[in-house]
């Protein structure tokens, strides 16, 4: 099933510059993109500006009831920067992203390489199975992993307990995987990595299919090992794909919300990451603190903006936007 990919591979950007331009009214393209521009401006750009403004305001229950928001200068930022909870959430966000992204890229690439080497039917079969993880809604993924790692009837503890104590130690049956932030994040990592691998694997597979097979044949004739082939041929040629996958994974893992919300919840402040912290400040208590939430969200946004800048640079250099 996967092999039909090249048949529909379009070549954007490589349009007929030599062929005649269509003679159509000049207004055409602007009318075509107008609805999209309006929707994106209203639903994304305008709210982004609002967050920036609100992060300097006090927006609480009274403002929600209609009173005008009062400006508090940089007080929201001063409060969060002085709060240990902020630094802890930031640390969780960054450390989780580093671990989850590394694992996702590593295992995803290996699965992609495997799919490429398998026979056609087998490759289709395995790819189909891997897709199941991708299609699973994050909320059910989080619930399923809570169940798998649960302390009553959880199959993970049961399996660990069966394994020889020499390898994993004993006493797993009542092990509580959600007792400490480190343990919660371990389960979260497994859950998120499981769901992110398919995208990486399929992208790497598509990239591998686009490479000329003669390169690898020549390398094999010269006696290059699989390891050498990967680092000397595959990786350099697919570098743009890996870069994009890296940036996208960093962005996605930086703002993980749903799974952590399900596994840990808003009451468990010790395990917050930045997006859960922002949400909890804004909507968590009886007293809505939307200004504070906005300040935290701004920090997250600024961090992501740096990563986005890298991404846009890569895409522009690859000519994707030309």
């Amino acid at each position: 099933m996967l092999d039909t990919a090249p048949a529909v591979r379009p070549t954007p950007g490589r349009k007929s510059s030599g062929r005649g331009r269509p003679r159509r009214p000049r207004l055409g393209p602007y009318l075509l993109i107008a609805p999209t521009v309006v929707v994106i401006a209203l639903l994304m750009f305008w709210p982004m500006i609002q967050i920036a403004v609100m992060s300097f305001q006090k927006v609480g229950n009274r403002q929600l009831a209609g009173e005008p928001a009062e400006s508090v200068g940089t007080k929201n930022y001063e409060t969060i920067l002085a709060d240990d909870l902020f630094w802890q959430s930031l640390r969780h966000t960054v450390l989780f992203a580093v671990v989850a992204v590394s694992l996702t890229l590593l295992v995803g690439t290996l699965v992609g390489l495997l799919l490429h080497r398998l026979g056609r039917r087998m490759s289709m079969f395995v790819a189909g199975g891997v897709m199941v993880a991708w299609a699973t809604p994050p909320i059910t993924a989080a619930i399923i992993f809570s169940w798998l790692f649960g302390s009553t009837g959880g199959v993970v503890n049961w399996t660990l307990d069966l394994l020889p104590d020499l390898l994993v130690g004993g006493d797993w049956i009542d092990y509580n995987w959600f007792a400490t932030p480190l343990r919660t994040y371990t389960v979260l990592t497994v859950c998120v990595v499981w769901q992110s691998i398919p995208f990486v694997a399929v992208s790497v597979l598509a990239g591998l299919r686009s490479l000329p097979g003669e390169l690898f044949e020549a390398a094999r004739v010269d006696g290059a090992s699989a390891w050498r082939q990967f680092w000397k041929i595959t990786f350099p040629l697919l570098r743009p794909i890996f870069l994009v996958l890296l940036v996208l994974s960093v962005i996605w893992d930086f703002k993980v919300f749903t799974q952590l919300f399900i596994m840990s919840g808003m009451a468990n402040r010790d395990a917050f990451n930045l997006s859960l912290y922002a949400y909890s400040e804004a909507f968590g208590g009886m007293n809505a603190k939307l200004g504070m939430g906005s300040a935290i969200a701004m920090v997250l946004t600024l961090l992501l903006l740096v990563v986005t800048a890298v991404y846009v640079r890569i895409m522009v250099r690859q000519g994707e936007t030309s």
């Binding site: 099933m1 269509p22 699973t136 059910t140 049961w158 919300f257 906005s294």
Partner: protein, 279 residues
């Protein structure tokens, strides 16, 4: 190494990857059919020895809340379908513009699409909540539809523009010479040819809307407005030990999207190679 041995080894590895990937979902489905004593047994078994539909009966028979499960299902399906149709339509228009015309701000528009994909939606929930509240669209599916359409658009356009560019311009020119108007050309020539791409983007939009949790959770107050993910969270929070019904409900939420995904997998992958990955 022997060639055949290597072949077997690779296939075994493939089966292992398959098993690991599918295991959590398979375990969910299997648990949904197990009677309670098997669910909490100290020696879990892969398949129910005494399968039961009790948990599904419970979930479908208003066991979760006063509202019927089908109501949630209907809300989710309605949201997803409207999102797919509207964002698909807008995306085809915009993708045609960027793939067929050179115009000022074209690059700006494309870069905007890239940047917008990176905006942390989790942050936008705060201002959008206020905006929709002011418009009186809180606690309504219409407000959510609007938001989901906005989220689905950038990626859809990014993906579709490759498909539009792949349609030979000569076809449209020939139709124009034969006297077809722009609308006719669009519906009779362009649309059928970009249909595979539209299928791929539709899946992404559908999954975006079907799976979305945080906005639905924040915006919807009344139980009869809940989408399936919000219902799941509510149910999970209130009955965290009832693993049987929880897994049955999860199964009902997950299987439609997995089935949908697998049926159109081929299109999906071609869409992906067109949009997300180009070496």
């Amino acid at each position: 190494m022997n060639r055949r041995m290597r072949r077997y080894g690779l296939n075994a590895l493939g089966l292992l990857v398959f098993a690991v990937a599918v295991f959590p979902v398979a375990w969910m489905i299997s648990t949904a059919f197990k009677p309670n004593e098997e669910i909490f047994s100290s020696t879990p078994r892969p398949l129910p020895s005494d399968p039961t539909l009790d948990h599904f009966d419970y979930v479908l028979g208003n066991g979760i809340a006063e509202v019927s499960f089908w109501e949630y299902f209907r809300n989710s399906a309605l949201l997803a379908i409207v999102t797919v149709v509207v964002s698909g339509l807008l995306a085809v228009l915009a993708a045609t513009a960027v793939a067929r015309y050179r115009f000022r701000f074209r690059t700006t528009f494309l870069i905007m699409l890239l940047v917008v994909q990176m905006v942390p939606l989790e942050a936008l929930v705060i201002p959008l909540f206020l905006d929709l509240k002011q418009l009186g669209m809180i606690n309504s599916l219409a407000g959510l539809m609007l938001v989901y359409i906005g989220f689905a658009l950038p990626f859809s356009i990014w993906m579709l523009r490759g498909f539009v560019a792949a349609v030979p311009k000569e076809l449209e020119e020939a139709a124009a010479i034969d006297g077809a108007g722009p609308l006719r050309i669009f519906f009779r020539v362009l649309l059928p040819l970009v249909a595979p791409g539209l299928v791929a983007t539709s899946i992404f939009s559908f999954i975006t809307a079907w799976n979305e949790f945080i906005f639905a959770f924040t915006f919807l107050d009344d139980q009869d407005k809940y989408t399936l993910p919000v219902m799941m969270q509510y149910f999970f929070g209130n009955a965290s030990n009832e693993w049987g019904p929880i897994m049955a409900a999860s199964t009902l939420l997950t299987l439609p999207v997995i089935a949908f995904f697998l049926v159109v997998q081929r299109r999906m992958v071609s869409g992906l190679t067109a949009g997300a990955v180009k070496g």
